[in-house]
């Protein structure tokens, strides 16, 4: 019955992985939307700051971001437990990528749309929120969806800050049983299943949100 126990341990790890993803994914999207908007419509200093954030978090390996948050921040007086550390790192990292998709989606909306809104007497904030954003977010869905899929895989780094997620549980079980190949194959397959599930869900969302929108990109391909 050894395999049953292994399976159980992996399930416990899977629970942690899912918790991590459920916490980090919405946070990342929220950061991405805010930073994306800031980069396009913010005043100059905000734009520069947003750009620096994107550049830093996209140019540094996630492992190092994770270690800086977990090991270095306590020296600056901010001590976070492993779980919030991991969630923060994942959210900040994926937020940087989301924001780039949001930014390019915002830029792809013709400026006439914004001008039209302003001409009708809307304030810029209202025009952006009511006219630009609903169109742009739709366009950002495929890119951001991809990023969410990456997040599922990135979450495997959580074991590096002592969390026992799916990968961490797999490691422990592999060392205990010396069945390295089988264990990591199963672990990989579970990630694969999660990725497939996420892709299916995202495709549904994409189809649903696109309806009635004349998407040029979709017809060209």
């Amino acid at each position: 019955m050894e395999w049953l126990d292994t399976g159980l341990q992996l399930l416990v790890g899977l629970r942690m992985t899912i918790l991590l993803i459920l916490a980090a994914a919405p946070a990342g999207v929220a950061i991405g939307v805010i930073v994306g908007i800031a980069r396009v419509y913010g005043p100059r200093p905000v734009r520069v700051l947003a750009f620096a954030y994107q550049s830093a978090f996209r140019g540094i390996p996630l492992v190092i971001q994770l270690f800086i948050i977990y090991y270095v921040l306590p020296r600056a007086g901010l001590r976070l437990d492993p779980f919030p550390s991991a969630v923060l790192a994942f959210a900040l990292c994926s937020g940087a990528y989301h924001s780039e998709y949001v930014r390019s989606a915002l830029l792809s909306i013709p400026t006439g749309q914004l001008e039209g809104g302003l001409a009708l007497g809307m304030r810029q904030s209202v025009a952006v929120r009511a006219i630009i954003l609903p169109q742009a977010l739709r366009k950002a869905v495929p890119g951001c969806g991809n990023e969410l899929v990456y997040l599922i895989k990135y979450s495997s780094l959580a074991y590096l800050v002592t969390l026992v997620d799916l990968t961490g549980a797999g490691r422990l079980e592999a060392y205990a049983s010396f069945r390295f190949f089988e264990t990591f194959l199963v672990v990989g397959m579970v990630y694969l299943a999660m990725v497939a599930l996420a892709r299916t869900g995202l495709r549904c969302i994409e189809r649903r949100w696109r309806c009635g929108l004349n998407e040029r990109a979709a017809t060209r391909a």
């Binding site: 996630l62 190092i64 020296r75 797999g170 592999a174 190949f181 990989g188 990725v195």
Partner: protein, 218 residues
């Protein structure tokens, strides 16, 4: 600080080795894979899609563990950690670059292939001489992206004991007091390497540009 930096720098060589070999394997396998995704026979395409789904569905670190601990622990197999890391990163990059090249091959208008066939080229030659050179130019922005992704993934190699930049940082952080300095310096080095690579690809893109040919964004 200077000593920390010089220790970290001594790991950069291995990081670059991992990066270059992984990208090299990825490109050498990825271009044919991309071509087969588009022009291959159906069973072959299905097989490649399977490879693709598995490789891209596994987290990099699980793939690395599977190769180093998993395959490496099978009877009669011995894989040094460096080789395992190169293999894992290379196979991953091949899958991603394959998809990239597939996408850019499809961006080349169909008329290009048809007219090459019409002037009497064989299909393989038309693909190699006419379609591929255009597609590879369109691929450059994607390759730049892949460069930065693979560079960052090399930082996972320390988990199987490869001595590169990240593992140097970890050693230093474990043995010294100034953890903050070590990790921030390591972060800065990775950031610089990322930016240098992106500059390099930008230069390559300008060099390879042919006036009149679209930049790939149409």
């Amino acid at each position: 600080m200077v000593q920390t930096l010089s220790t970290l720098l001594s790991g950069v060589g291995t990081t670059l080795l991992l990066l270059v070999l992984a990208l090299g394997i990825g490109f050498t396998l990825g271009v044919p894979i991309g071509i087969l995704h588009v022009y291959g026979r159906r069973p072959l395409r299905l097989l490649l899609s399977g490879y693709d789904a598995v490789i891209r569905g596994f987290p990099a670190i699980v793939l690395l563990f599977l190769i180093y601990f998993g395959i490496g622990s099978l009877p009669g197999v011995r894989i040094p950690s460096l080789h395992a890391a190169i293999l894992a990163l290379g196979l991953r990059s091949a899958a991603y670059q394959g998809r990239l090249v597939e996408g850019t091959l499809r961006m080349v208008p169909m008329g290009q292939l048809e007219s090459a066939l019409a002037v009497g080229m064989r299909r393989t030659m038309a693909i190699r001489r006419i379609v591929l050179p255009q597609a590879l130019r369109f691929s450059l922005p994607g390759l730049a992206n892949e460069y930065s992704i693979v560079l960052k993934d090399t930082a996972l190699a320390f988990t199987v004991g490869v001595i590169e930049l990240m593992s140097r940082a970890k050693f230093l952080a474990a043995s010294k007091r100034e953890i903050a300095q070590v990790y921030l310096l390591a972060a800065a080095l990775y950031w610089i390497l990322t930016q240098l690579g992106l500059l390099g690809f930008g230069w390559l893109e300008r060099r390879a540009r042919i006036s009149g040919l679209g930049s790939g964004r149409r």
